[in-house]
């Protein structure tokens, strides 16, 4: 959430792109051990989400009043049972689905909308810039957690509303980065040269601007995925996201809160999953930033 604070500062100089730029990025990234470990963990969690029905040993929704709150290592319940006697391992595996959908989806959508707004504002300048950026400033004036909670609180709980709120939270910071990068690129000589040679605005954006601004905007957006994961599960934790009995890590953490006195380890498990996922996204994003030579 607070990573959003650095939005305005991560300006990037346009990167010179030879045909080998992306293979260079991949080569550098693959040499970054920390980023590779993070990537493997993320892939594992994604696979876990996709193949949940094959991996989960039990039905995540089937409870048993007789086996409530069992400790880790109970026979047939390797990671214990939750407050309704449901298998924790299965619920954690299934939980990856909603947690990933809620945490990851807002960022690419905000990347497209915020990126487009920022690039248009930066390239057009003048009145268009003022109109777009001052509107963005208003939303940027809200601390991100507050904006997410305010919007989902007003819209009402639910997966769809939570996704809308989170997307709206991430559009302003992305748009600000996009605008500042585009403004920098716009002032460069080769844009003037293109304009002098008769290229239209769309052609200049497509050929000369996008290639130089998408990288920095993309890297910035990837750094938001980790924030989004925490915020999305946080909304569920507050009861503003997914509704019970759906398995989702934030919601599981909420319903298990009362169990901290009886089964503290079981109660802490869903949060550990959020933590691992969020750290991995952060490490991968850091690696990508270094590999793409974006400051």
């Amino acid at each position: 959430m607070s990573a959003v604070a650095s939005a305005g500062t991560s300006l990037a100089a346009p990167v010179a792109r030879s045909p080998g730029y992306w293979s260079g990025v991949l080569r550098r990234l693959s040499r970054d051990k920390v980023a590779m470990v993070a990537l493997v963990i993320i892939l594992a969690i994604v696979l876990m989400a996709i193949f949940a029905p094959y991996l989960a040993p039990a039905d995540p929704a089937k409870g048993s009043m007789l086996r409530r709150l069992r400790p880790i290592g109970t026979p047939n319940y390797p990671l214990g049972a939750d407050e309704l006697g449901r298998d924790m391992l299965s619920r954690l595996i299934y939980g990856a689905r909603l947690s990933l959908i809620m945490g990851v989806t807002p960022v690419p959508i905000a990347f497209v909308i915020g990126g487009a707004l920022g690039i248009i504002a930066g390239f057009a300048g003048g009145v268009v810039n003022t109109l777009i950026m001052r509107t963005i400033d208003v939303f940027y004036a809200f601390p991100s957690v507050l904006l997410a909670v305010a919007l989902s609180g007003a819209l009402g709980a639910g997966l769809g509303n939570a996704l809308v709120s989170l997307t709206l939270v991430f559009i302003p910071p992305i748009a600000r980065v996009a605008e500042s990068v585009t403004t920098q690129v716009r002032g460069l000589d080769y844009i003037d040269a293109a304009r002098a040679s008769g290229a239209g605005a769309l052609t200049i954006i497509r050929v000369h601007v996008l290639g130089n601004v998408l990288g920095p905007i993309f890297v910035y957006a990837t750094s938001l995925v980790s924030v989004s994961m925490i915020l999305a599960s946080g909304l569920s934790f507050l009861g503003l996201g997914v509704r019970p009995p759906e398995p989702e890590w934030g919601l599981m953490l909420n319903t298990l809160r009362t169990a901290i006195y009886t089964q503290p380890l079981v109660a802490a498990l869903p949060g550990l999953m959020i933590f691992i996922t969020s750290v991995s996204f952060n490490m991968l994003s850091d690696g990508l930033r270094t590999a793409m030579e974006v400051k």
Binding site: S2, I230, F237, V279
Partner: protein, 317 residues
């Protein structure tokens, strides 16, 4: 300087008006009639119309906004639907509690973060640098509501050192520097401090690395200035930005305290927001969000002005 402050203030006004507009529209964003929470479902059409008139919902939106803004500027945030008390009073009480928590967390985060950042920046490329970066990443990646739960499990449930929840000893209003009150603050403040710690550590580390690379620092060292002397120059140059980051973090923490306050049942604005959302108490929701957002806008202005006063180089257009 005075001119700059005035200019920043004027530039802030449209943002503040926009923020108030968003807060006003929040109520109308809510599904259904804003009155549905107050009225019984079997209320007659007559009663409904009467209530609508009473709350002013029968007028066109721009008029409603104007009237609402006029009242807000006089300090009237309306009346809470659930409690029947004026929203302004409830919010002020809650803001005070949240501010204590956020300030304590910012302070802890700033001290630890600066330390980590200085170490990382000075010992660049060493194991200390890597450890400092790793701690900073953990700080910004940890779901803090979960960290709060883990700390409660360790220090309240297992060790029984500190209270698990609450905003102070029961039945007393003794806030202040006494252990009876502070022991309630320790866990939530530490939990909340991990975010500013991570952010400050990253900022300070980048600043130190940049400053150490500048020619004047190399010149100072070449002229034979002691390590301590050079260190003083680094601190002097890093301080304005680091302090600005800290100031903004206070605003982020105050606005984002809802998750931590829920975990620890801390009686602040987050607690109020939670109640407002689940009781569909829209005036309370609107008022709380407005106060927090305006606080953040004003804080931004203050940070900017103070930063410029300390370091005129950063003056923004």
């Amino acid at each position: 300087m005075l001119f700059y402050t005035a200019k920043r203030f004027v530039l802030m006004l449209p943002v503040a008006i926009g923020v108030s507009l968003v807060c006003f529209l929040l109520v109308h964003l809510a599904p259904g009639d804003p009155l549905s929470a107050v009225l019984p479902t079997d209320a007659s059409a007559e009663t409904q119309a009467e209530m609508r008139k009473l709350y002013g919902f029968d007028k066109p939106l721009p008029v409603q906004y104007g009237l609402w803004l006029g009242r807000v500027l006089q300090g009237d945030l309306g009346v809470s639907i659930a409690s029947g008390r004026p929203v302004a009073g409830e919010v002020i009480n809650a803001v005070e509690n949240s501010l204590v928590l956020a300030a304590a967390a910012t302070l802890i985060g700033f001290v630890l973060g600066s330390l980590l950042g200085l170490l990382g920046g000075y010992f660049r490329g060493t194991i200390i640098d890597r450890l400092s970066s790793f701690t900073a990443v953990l700080g910004v990646s940890v779901p803090h509501y979960w960290l709060g739960m883990v700390l409660v499990i360790i220090f309240s449930v297992q060790l029984n050192w500190l209270p698990a929840t609450g905003g102070g000893p029961q039945g007393s209003d003794s806030k202040g520097l006494n252990w009876d009150y502070i022991r309630f603050l320790v866990l939530p403040a530490i939990t909340m401090s991990v975010i500013p710690m991570g952010i400050v550590a990253r900022t300070v580390k980048a600043l130190v690395a940049e400053i150490l690379n500048q020619e004047f620092v190399q010149a100072l060292a070449a002229k034979g200035l002691t390590e301590r002397g050079v260190f003083r120059h680094v601190i002097k140059n890093a301080a304005p930005t680091a302090l600005a980051v800290m100031g903004l973090q206070l605003g982020y923490l105050l606005g984002g305290s809802i998750l931590i306050e829920t975990v620890f049942s801390w009686p602040g604005t987050g607690f109020l927001l939670n109640a407002a959302i689940f009781q569909r108490d829209l005036p309370l929701l609107q008022g709380t969000i407005l106060v927090l957002a305006i606080f953040f806008v004003v804080l931004n202005l203050l940070v900017d002005v103070v930063q410029t006063a300390i370091d005129p180089r950063v003056q923004r257009a």
